[in-house]
Symmetry: D2
Subunit: 332 residues, 4 copies
């Protein structure tokens, strides 16, 4: 079957770590239970992704205050790394852009972070500033559905107007896997393409197009509905595989420990076919294409998120806000 | 296989119309493209649901202003009907309770409606009121995750304190089918059980427990993730059935017209088995149980909603608020 | 004594009707208890104000629903007038700008109105629009204290980017008199100078500077603290004058009817001096200058508003939003 | 002239330090530029105030981060003191009540603090709690103008329902002097009387009425308009006195240094009379009564606050929230 273009089907992952990127990992480390993967892609990478640095921080629930502190420490360190990689000077003027829609909770990360940023550009303008603070401005373009204006167009025009030395963007992302949702921060310097979702995208915001570094910070807060269906089918296969292979020890396994499923070896093609019939004989791409074909015509633009999303978004707003204030404003 | 208790699996529908209620429909009518089903259940109904009146209003997208007006007209009429059925006097004092969590967009309906209510109880207290207005107070208990207090406990205590003559509650609901989401208003006088989701529920708020009429107005804004998976599997089966039966005319059918799938006749047991293997041989309840077993251990409390939920919630807040103001305050 | 520049002392009125404008009234009328004054200033006007049309609508409390309807009717009529005066075509593309700070209640009018606007520009971009709606976009520049960026700079850059055919701005204003606060709407086509309050203003947003009509809608929501002091001193003088002249009938006058004070004739210079000493011998400008000198060094930027400001702002948001939707989108 | 009851004239101070309390100061100290006055009143105090402990913390602008830290340190210390004085056990269950109106910025302190509180009561209910956290619930009664219900009635009913061991209330206060606004925190254990401002107050929330300790934390965010007028008249007198006494060195004094006025000795009765005429011969109470008589009939309920109130409220929300989290949850 022909190669399936997942993006076309809105089964989109904004996370490099969910693409086939393991060959490009330049450094990995673990600090307490926080994991960091630093990926560097060159121009000729086979992922069809843009050249540059990608840092993925993976962790458990940050609404636990002890986890929060651990992630904050690592985030500070990795933001410093991307600043160095992107050659950002200590006195470079910063514009932070909060993307997304503050009225829709899972999409409100950008807005939430901006609430916590120490803004100083206007004090520089009048010379009334304690110079331990960097020159920082913020901008919230909102979404086209609310304003009638492409966020991209607003961003370009603000950059042209205030001429920062570099840009930081904050956005909610989509993941392919539930395991990543609210448990990952991705930092890149490859630029962004603020999606209107309406009509054709026109250009990206990146060093190539605006001539200054663009650092993007994102947290996956949703998965698409097709992901849920696909994940469920896969878990189904694994669960049935497990039951076949572990009939005897079945009783010993806690019903609520999903980990055994994650580690279970794949079923054979024949077994898959037995369990899921025709569907079991399709490749993962073909399944996703099928799911897309089925769900898309319903005319809904569905998102899947967690019930606690309001609290989580608030905590990520504090985490990233605190980290940016520390990194941006500690000029010595 | 044993009878499956769907509620147990959180594959919950708050809508009477999604239960096997067609035998109990007392009246149905259509006004423009707005449909009304009035169901009356007696004590011995076979649905295991509470005795009383259930009105379901079904419609298309209310963000279209012409639809909005049509639904508003019907909603006014049906609110008057439930007031009459519930024997609410013209000067009965009203307490409106906005359930849910205003910080989580799909759960913010209650809060959004309260924003639009004309409140007068305090003016009655000091005798300074234009008596064309009814005595109306509002209360927003918020959710236990935010306050640490069961919303039910707060509601009971407020009712005891201000002694209204009847109560109206507003809440976001969960549906079993995507077709219902944001396209249905349900009105009942059977009482509510504000779900804490934590621990065991303790009692309901209904005429039985508080001695005054309780009118509940709800709009489905989410479906559970298991619903999505199940819907997809069903559509898959129908799609494949369609392709088998319509091989010749395949090319003529618009890819984005899902309606043909809705009308397709069921596959035979054998065909199902062929397409979905073991899974195809399970009953719908068994599939949902399986999906629940698979998704639940992941430890997520997932909700599925639409991307435009912020705008829709705002419009429903206006619609229901406008209707309540008109019905409550037009005392002659 | 030299002529005092009130603006310098922050004893500012944004209302033409509070300047010495009575000679320039071109038309006045009363519709129910809503009064309209249409002032037209030419280039050589003696008020040192910009050339153009100024419409002042004066009314009583709009939180009364019957007043609300009366004001809405007049507002619709007067917006049509200013559209005609400004030569705005039926299909002219509109950008509405909500000025001010949504987080500070008295300054949130712009933001509140934008909440209620029907936005369509993005639908025009993709050709998916019911053409009874005009092409409308919105923008909220926020204030420099929050963003670090002059609102004026943001506005210029957005206008350059999306090229509307005309601009409407909404803002909270300052009045000189408590009688005007929340009881006046001013509409002009003379442009605005969004005040940063920081450093020197640099240019205005007007037809002169951007080449397209700029219609400004404003509602006074605050007075400066110097106004309160001055008003009090004036009322004091009048009260004492009244008591001197009405000793006999004193007991008959309701203590809470301030109107008698408003109509009382001025005290003589001698009487003023007797009551207020040196202060009584100063001109009004001199008193304001004195008050400014006294209050300003305290280092506070004080505003005086009403306790019910949150409710009033919400109602004005609905009033102006409803009116704009009707005028903008009724294309035939 | 008769003794004036200031409260009657709405020229209200919620701050004990602004009453004639200096004789009752039990301890005063200064930590950096943060000052603490601990006043203890017994039953027979001459201030006509309730028996108990009053702690006043005075400081400069907390939007400066270094001041913020200094005040936080002192606030922690003084909250511990009031806990000890009020005999609150380490495992006593706490209900925190956020008074005021979140939609009106100067009145939003209670709501803002609640946003930052770590709530745990529901976790205790299901036994799922890390026991280093105290049992804490929150409640926001809103104001009667929004809900139609006296906040006092709601508070009594919630306390009866969840039976905490002690209560903490947070509220915006009114001050008599601009110098106090946003520069003072008052902590008491004498109870509160949530003011409806409508009709007659009915009872207080205090240890006397509910049998458990009530700790009230307040920050003055407004002054009444009469205060502004009175302050201005006083400054006027001092300014004129200064000019009389310092004619020679006039030019040397910075126009924006108000401090010289604060220290200037009072004018004689004759001088006052000369400057302000009849008004200059009145006592302070008589002036305030006069101002009240003048301003009150206008029918406005005026408040005076600062332009930056939105930012200040947010910072106090963090300050008090952080302090409460530390004091409440550090159980060992």
């Amino acid at each position: 079957m022909h190669k399936v273009d997942l993006a076309k089907y809105n089964v989109r992952s904004d996370l490099i770590i969910e693409h086939d990127s393991s060959d490009y990992i330049k450094e990995s480390y673990q600090d307490s239970n926080v994991k960091v993967d630093y990926i560097r892609l060159d121009k000729k990478n086979l992922l069809n992704k843009k050249e540059g640095d990608y840092i993925t921080i993976s962790f458990e629930d940050i609404t636990d205050s002890s986890n929060f502190s651990k992630v904050l420490k690592v985030l500070n360190k990795e933001l410093k790394r991307i600043f160095t990689l992107s050659k950002i000077e200590n006195d470079a003027k910063c514009l932070i852009i909060g993307l997304g829609n503050k009225k829709s909770t899972p999409d409100a990360l950008g807005s939430e972070v901006l609430q916590n940023i120490i803004v100083t550009r206007h004090l520089y303008e009048i010379g009334d500033v304690d110079f331990k603070y960097r020159n920082v401005a913020i901008f919230e373009p909102n979404v086209i559905g609310n304003t009638g204006i492409e966020s991209k167009d607003l961003i370009f025009s603000v950059i042209k107007t205030i001429k920062p030395d570099f840009v930081i963007t904050i956005d909610s992302l989509a993941a392919l896997s539930l395991d990543r949702v609210q448990k990952t921060i991705q930092i890149t310097n490859t630029g962004i393409e603020p999606g209107s979702g309406i009509g054709n995208a026109r250009g990206e915001i990146s060093k190539n197009t605006i001539g200054i570094p663009v650092i993007a910070i994102g947290v996956p807060t949703v998965v698409s509905s097709a992901v849920i269906v696909n994940d469920t089918l896969n878990y189904l296969l694994k669960k049935i595989s497990y039951h076949k292979n572990n009939y005897q020890k079945d009783k010993l396994v806690s019903k609520y420990n999903i980990n055994y499923l994650k580690e279970e070896k794949e079923l054979s093609a024949l077994e898959k076919r037995e369990v899921l019939g025709l569907v079991g004989s399709l490749s993962e791409e073909e399944v996703k294409e099928l799911i897309f074909e089925v769900l898309n015509p319903i005319g809904y633009n569905l998102i899947v998120t967690t019930k606690e999303i309001d609290y989580t978004i608030r905590e990520f707003g504090k985490l990233i806000g605190d980290s940016l204030n520390e990194i941006l404003h500690e000029k010595n």
